[in-house]
Amino acid sequence: MTVPLATKMPDYSLEQKQEVERIMSIEATDYYTILKVEKAATETQIKKSYRKLAMKLHPDKNKHPQSSDAFKKIAKAFEVLGDDKKRNFYDQTGADPDSRGGGGGGSAGAGADMANGGFGGGRASP
């Protein structure tokens, strides 16, 4: 008897669908492309572009099954480009400044990140 709210919520427009697909096709660390800004973009331009994309992609606004993932990508991109220090690091290395492991999502050789410590509590085999 209760209709879940979601079924009555607005679906997504073609534009919203295309935007989700565009974001999802981009490499996760290609922050400038994700946020649709030039490498020389000012702080304000970056912010404006992020806000505009957020309005289109946020799952509250966009019911596309991948909208949440797409939003997480732009939020991550904004977190880096919206912060002077992180943006600097990224501009120089091309890597996610928050990732303490290997660079650029590469998997080889990074090993377990001992900086993060190990888990306790688990029992070794008797």
């Binding site: 879940p4 709210l5 009555k8 939003f71 688990g122």
Partner: protein
């Protein structure tokens, strides 16, 4: 890949671990549907989402209609409803003003400020500290949570969620009466600084009464929506929210309809109640200084309740005038409380509380990477912000006069309604980007807290980190998920745990365990762990979850169903019955106090009347008697007769004293 799911706020759809809801219609709705002719119109209406501000002392409900939000009035015509729930000896539940009115005669079963206990453990310092101020009994539930115990019936105990549920149900009812349609979906607000279990418990409260809680929204964030809808101004906004029980500060960046929370901070146990408690203590001290008798007034629940009410009243008055009189006649026997209190005195005695809000304020500003002077506008929310000293302090802090355009009591509910309309698609050009208020992380070796998602991260978000084992040959790991800002997990709040087993034994530090945290827009947190080398699926056991088990929730739903009665007529009637009982108490007390000077025949006559009236009271409560006129008449008759007897007794006592004096040698 294994994952567990625990939710920070209620999902809109989905099939996993959903707590069953009660498809229950309240009375007017049943009538509404029975009328038939209007049912068609109801079906074609778009989905309405109401916004509920479930406050510590007062609650409010609002809805957006035609892009305009408005507060819905309750049946008494009030725009807010006291968050008070009382249980009568008859097994009825009173909510709101009716519950508040009978608090003096039924203080042990009148539950107020329970939001301060929601989602908390009995052993928490805050709970232990509150117990000394509360007129009702707080007990430890099997799961360690703080619950509330009544003295009526079989001494039933209730969780703070259930009490919240009764209030939510009342607000749902208010909405339905106003909208003339069922209000099923709701956005409910919580203090921004609430942790996961407090949010969970609030959501449970909604589910208990059959609400579909589509989102839990932070109170200051909601207030910013109310402000922003009105102002349409871009810029940096600080929301200072000091309510009945909690303090929040949020900093938002508003830009073309996007409300981005930059940071949030607060104290989930600081609010008007604390100010009241300080004043109660002061009044008690003042009384004791001049007390003639030796009764310990703090042991007298009824007297303490009256003092509490007087304290709250005086505090509110001092927001508008510089001086007020605290007058409580006959607080014990023939002694009164009567003195003047100045605003400056109140300021001074509560200064430590006002100052307590400054630290979170500074933290919020620095977390947002801002300076105080960057803030374009400051809004004040919550009843306590009417206190002039608080306004001055905040004004001085920001070097800017706070904006007073939003209504401190209504802004939160209005904002919740706006967010509801955003979620239903009714409001299109607004987007709220909220954050996680507390850092999320896991326990690593030695009880250290390893943060994964820092506080003030915009949701939805996903973060992955690689960990390893701490011991050679370790073949399993415990993933304990905590929320908090302290470096040791024992100082933070455990919100969930699971075990990753069957890791191939290797030297310590070699296995690569990838842990990901994923929070969606509804605040649902998913934590998963993966052994990258083996990629092997091992079993996961979720050991526990904060809050209540499903069976427990079902039990509670049943219980609330049984004990709730929302017939306004009955409530009203019982209010009169309670008043009558109060008069009975007064009469008995008076006979007792003046016993020496009352004639036997007077005692007999009044005694007869009292026993009849008592019978009427118990019959009314058992449902055998329902006659408002009779009860009202009994009130008048009993009052008059007692008054007369006391006057006679007074005369006799004066005569007796004269006699004694005239016989005394000079």
């Amino acid at each position: 890949m294994f994952s567990i799911t625990f939710r920070q706020s209620l999902r809109t759809t989905g099939s996993t671990c959903r707590i069953p809801r009660l498809p229950r219609l309240s009375l007017p709705i049943r009538r509404f549907y029975a009328s038939g002719s209007t049912i068609k119109a109801a079906v074609h209406k778009p989905v309405k989402v109401i916004g509920i501000d479930l406050g510590t002392t007062n609650s409010a409900v609002a809805v957006v209609e035609g892009e305009m939000p408005r507060i819905l009035e309750n049946s008494q015509g009030d725009r807010t409803t006291p968050s008070i729930v009382a249980f009568t000896t008859r097994g009825d539940v009173l909510v709101g003003a009716t519950a508040k009115r009978q608090a003096v005669v039924n203080s042990e079963n009148t539950f107020y400020a329970t939001k301060r206990l929601i989602g908390r453990k009995f052993e928490d310092d805050e709970v232990q500290n509150d117990i000394s101020h509360l007129s009702y009994k707080v007990v430890k539930h099997e799961n360690g949570d703080a619950w509330l115990q009544t003295t009526v019936g079989e001494n039933l105990s209730y969780s703070p969620s259930q009490i919240g549920g009764f209030v939510l149900k009342e607000m749902k009812h208010v909405a339905e009466t106003n909208l003339n349609s069922e209000a099923k979906n709701a956005v409910i607000t919580v203090p921004a600084y609430f942790n996961d279990s407090q949010r969970q418990a609030t959501k449970t409260a909604g589910e208990l009464v059959g609400l579909n809680v589509v989102r839990i929204v932070n109170e200051p964030t909601a207030a910013s929506l109310a402000y922003g809808m009105n102002q349409k101004k871009n810029g940096l906004l600080a929301v200072y929210d000091l309510g009945g029980g909690t303090f929040d500060i949020s900093v938002l960046d508003i830009d073309d309809g996007v409300f981005e929370v930059r940071s949030t901070n607060g104290d989930t146990h600081l609010g008007g109640e604390d100010f009241d408690n300080v004043l109660v203590k002061y009044i008690v001290g003042k009384f004791k200084d001049s007390q003639k008798g030796d009764e310990d007034i703090t042991k007298n629940r009824m007297a303490m309740q009256r003092i509490k009410e007087a304290a709250e009243k005086a505090k509110i008055a001092l927001s508008h005038v510089h001086k007020t009189r605290i007058q409580i006649p006959f607080i014990v026997k023939d002694e009164n409380i009567d003195f003047e209190l100045a605003e400056s005195e109140l300021d001074e005695m509560t200064m430590h509380l006002i100052k307590k809000t400054m630290e979170p304020l500074k933290k919020a500003i620095s977390d947002a990477d801002l300076k105080r002077s960057d803030i374009d506008e400051v809004i004040m929310v919550g009843g306590m912000t009417r206190m002039p000293r608080i306004r001055r302090m905040v004004g001085d802090f920001f070097n800017k006069k706070p904006n007073t355009e939003v209504n401190p009591d209504e802004a939160v509910a209005i904002g919740a309604a706006i967010q509801g309309a955003v979620l239903s698609g009714e409001v299109k050009d607004v987007l709220l980007l909220d954050v996680t208020p507390l850092t999320l992380g896991i326990e690593t070796y030695g009880g250290l807290f390893s943060p994964l998602i820092p506080r003030n991260t915009t949701v939805p978000c996903k973060i992955q980190t690689t960990y390893s084992t701490a011991v050679d040959g370790q073949n399993s790991i415990d993933v304990n998920v905590y929320q908090g800002e302290r470096p040791l997990v024992r100082d933070n709040k455990l919100i969930g745990k699971f075990k990753l087993t069957d890791i191939p034994p290797k030297p310590k530090g070699v296995p690569k365990i990838q842990v990901s945290f994923d929070i969606d827009a509804d605040g649902i947190i998913k934590v998963s762990a993966l052994d990258k080398d083996s990629g092997k699926r091992a079993s996961i056991t979720v050991f526990g979850k904060t809050g209540m088990s499903q069976a427990e929730v079902e039990q509670l739903v049943k219980q609330s169903k049984k004990t709730t009665k929302e017939d306004q007529m009955t409530l009203n009637y019982l209010k009169h019955v309670n008043n009558l009982e109060l008069i009975v108490f007064d009469s008995e007390q008076a006979i007792n106090d003046w016993s020496r000077f009352i004639l036997e025949e007077e005692k007999e006559s009044l005694g007869r009347k009292l026993s009849i009236v008592k019978r009427m009271i118990s019959d009314s409560r058992s449902g055998d008697l329902f006659d408002v006129k009779l009860i009202k008449a009994a009130q008048v008759e009993l009052k008059d007769e007692t008054m007369e007897i006391i006057q006679n007794a007074g005369q006799r006592s004066r005569d007796a004293r004269k006699k004694v004096q005239s016989h005394e040698p000079n």
